[in-house]
Amino acid sequence: MLSVEAVSKRYGGGNWVLREVDLTVEPGAVVAIVGGNGSGKSTLLRLMVGVSRPTLGQVSGRPDVVGYVPERFPPNERLSALAYLGHLGRIRGMTGEAAAERAEELLERLDLQGGFDSQLRTLSKGNAQKVALAQALMVPPGLLVLDEPWSGLDADAHGVLATIIAETAAAGGAVVFTDHRESVTRANATRIHRIHDGRIAAAIAPERAIVEVALSRPDSDAEDPGWDDLDGVVTAVTHQGQLFVRVDRAHSDALLAVALRHGWSIDSVTPEKAAS
């Protein structure tokens, strides 16, 4: 379990960026860190992944496989998306073949536009962000740390990202992310920490009502309405032939109507307990 104990950080002799921060992230938790610009969010994430070291205090219990998606992915790399991911997969101990396969799978899932084989520097901001996300997922991470991952991503990728976060947590990985939009943090996090002026506040459980809807296709005629794009959908995952859609309570009735209209059958509707 990742634990940040009494960590303070400053660069050189400058001001304290973080002061006495305590935070534990248990496996399966999805923790959101919210705060204004310059509040120390990014610094805290860098400490968590081990790129930066605390001035005081310590960070312990970091899992073996850590995925880190920085806030901006600099577009000066001349390698292609596939070559870059292949290298990072091999650095993480994959064989070249497995890395290439995984890279292609992730880029297809994230729907990278602009060519898997074109240089990273030619990609748009959102597409570069998809490559940054893919490199963190080459090996399923025990700790996934995302710095403002939604910025620059298109609407389709928003849904995929939410699903990836949910999947990582379901597989026992811990997820920590930052974002400044309430709607995003509320929908995805099991716990929200507010950070202000280098100090972190105790966790708040997101106030939200999420309903999990299990759907199945009675026959193969049922159409796919594009679940991720529907209003209020947090994640849509297929598991053993059933489709599980997590949706905001306010939009669940509309979703059920869409499902019935497209020939799907509703197996169950379960309110999700708010995590504490």
């Binding site: 790129v51 850590v66 600099p74 290298h87 990072l88 650095i91």
Partner: protein
């Protein structure tokens, strides 16, 4: 480790920042090994001196190629900044070995001359000594240690000049002996004895670079 070295090598090759120092070296070697350039040990001494400056430049180029944010991602993937730095040193050393080959072979190609059995080993040792010192200077003058490139350039020039011109420094001692002999066999023991000094300097520079870069992050 192999994967890290391959990645560092690939980014270096793609960015083409290695070209300028390599071309500078070829030009320098071309001038130093023309006709009437005297006995081979003296030519090799001069080439080794040029390789020190070029190895410094190459090392700085290898490190500058990777943006700090990319480097952070690589450090997380490799699970240690030490391994990433080691890959940088390995790639710089490979490039310095390339310079060594150029520095040894080009004089023979440009103006054929008699070669004694000790010429090549003595020349190779001089190049390796200068290559390791060059990488050492490049490491401590890289972005990992200096934020301001102007200061880094000034310090790199000062250190390279000090390493080459200070009386009593390993390269300076070796060069003087090589320039004043026509039989490389005479300088072979000295060249062999001085190489550990170069490797030690490289190790110290790597430790300094690691400590400073980790404290800074």
């Amino acid at each position: 480790m192999n994967a890290l070295i391959r990645y560092t090598f690939a980014t270096t090759v793609h960015a083409q920042r290695y070209l300028a120092p390599v071309l500078l070296f070829c030009a320098g070697v071309g001038i130093s090994s023309g006709n009437n350039s005297g006995p081979l040990p003296g030519v090799y001494a001069l080439n080794a001196a040029i390789s020190l400056v070029c190895a410094t430049w190459l090392t700085i180029a290898v490190i500058s190629v990777e943006d700090p944010v990319h480097r952070a991602i690589t450090v997380v993937a490799a699970r240690s900044p030490i391994r990433v730095l080691a890959a940088t040193v390995a790639v710089s050393a490979l490039l310095a070995l390339g310079l060594t080959v150029i520095g040894l072979v080009m004089p023979l190609v440009l103006s054929p001359r008699p070669v004694s059995a000790a010429d090549l080993p003595a020349g190779a040792l001089a190049h390796l000594l200068c290559g390791s010192l060059g990488i050492a200077i490049g490491l401590v003058c890289s972005r990992l240690v200096f934020r301001r490139q102007g200061y880094a350039l000034l310090v790199a020039l000062a250190l390279a000049a000090a390493a080459l011109l200070t009386t009593g420094s390993p390269p300076n001692t070796l060069f003087k002996r090589m320039a004043n002999t026509s039989d490389a066999g005479d300088v072979l023991p000295l060249a062999l004895a001085l190489l550990p000094a170069g490797l030690a300097a490289l190790a110290v520079a790597a430790v300094i670079t690691h400590v400073v870069s980790v404290r800074r992050d």
